[in-house]
Chain length 244, copies 2
């Protein structure tokens, strides 16, 4: 499994993904699930993936045009005039890859499935965030639904639902996401460290900040330990159930 | 879906279940998922269920011997000498009911599935807590795994994992469970109020406390609102991510 979150805030977009891939419980590997295409001053595109690794790697390779000779590559990802058209392009590639992997005949099913979060900004347009389904169609974030999760989404959802605020700073949003990821890491073995973090500042047209957060990261340890204690204190501070 | 939790603490057993049943998103009903058999001074048995409602109701009806005339009923549930044998009895009934509902032929699958949490105490033995699978087999709680959840378990798990303490009082454990249920209610439409609460005090051999908690319950409102605020405060109190 996987856990990835894309968040829209007033100041831009924040992305976080884990790196664990597993085929069964005894075959665990670390793979980057966050892919970035940057054309400084012009566009930043971030794609995060959950699902079958062969599928998601294929999608990224095709977007990179790795099926062409190195000097012939000019990814059409860099030619899209809007994020909406970028999402359509990615959706079409996803659909193709899954269709080509599906077993022959009627038994085609979800084994090769994958879902994606796509976000970014292209000069002349606003920052946008999309969720792309295995079928190649997609939805866009809005004021009412300002974030998308893919993968093992449930453990970490309640804290985002409760504490998201679009006026939050990057530093606050990273804190919120780390708490959400920490709850997931503590509850599910299929989500694992290190985490990839990226934030994109609106109208900057370059990657603002990018970091890989591992087990030894001092801030992660502070949040993880601090949050456990804070939750215990918060629970203690609530009145106990009145038995009578 | 459903959400039920059974918790063992030093002082006894605590049970909480929701009451929402749905067949599709447009067919929602309220059904009790917590069933209690009590023989004061002798035994208390609590059974909570998640899964296909026809299956879980059948299991309870068979345990009640509702297939016999009223004056001929003497449920064998009241004759089991230990909770282990009670769990075996329930497991066998579950297996039979699911087998009899399964479609004819090889296509039998999970549509009629159900899982159960069984807990209680019989005079002369310790309080016990079991989780019973659709296959009729079961596992028992232990020091390492002192609680079981069935149904929509993920949203409400992190807070229990972090804050459970076997020395907690009933009042504290109800608070913990209400927070766990509130997180689930806020995240998933298939889990709904009212909630059924029961606690059983060790060696009392009678139902200690039983209550149905609805939307208007003052304590539930206090916990729900208080927890939202407490989480926001706790998050605020953690240091923000250092960008540099």
């Amino acid at each position: 499994m996987t856990y990835c979150v894309g968040l829209t805030i007033d100041r831009g977009l924040v992305f976080m993904s884990d790196t664990r891939t597993n085929a069964g419980i005894d075959s665990i590997s670390t793979f980057r699930k966050m892919h970035v295409w940057e054309e400084p001053g012009e566009r930043v595109i971030v794609l995060m993936s959950a699902g079958n690794l062969a599928t998601t790697q294929s999608v990224v390779s095709i977007l990179d045009e790795r099926n062409k000779a190195v000097n012939e590559r000019s990814p059409s990802l860099f030619e899209m005039p809007s994020m909406y058209q970028t999402a359509r392009l990615v959706g079409n590639v996803v659909k193709e890859v899954i269709a080509s992997s599906a077993p022959v005949g009627q038994s085609a099913d979800s084994y090769f499935n994958a879902s994606f979060i796509l976000g970014g900004q292209i000069r002349g347009t606003e920052p946008r965030l999309f969720m792309i389904y295995p079928e190649g169609n997609f939805i866009e974030s809005s004021e009412d639904t300002p974030f998308f999760q893919v993968g093992e989404t449930k453990y970490g959802k309640p804290i985002i639902v409760r504490s998201y605020d679009k006026a939050m700073s990057f530093a606050e949003s990273v804190k919120l996401l780390l708490v959400s990821f920490d709850s997931t890491l503590k509850s599910n073995l299929s989500v694992g460290l290190p985490l990839d973090l990226l934030f994109y500042e609106k109208d900057s047209f370059k990657v603002g900040f990018r970091k890989r957060i591992g087990q030894d990261d001092a801030y992660y340890r502070t949040v993880s330990d601090g949050w456990s204690n804070a939750l215990k204190q918060a629970l203690k501070a609530l009145p106990d159930f009145p038995e009578n």
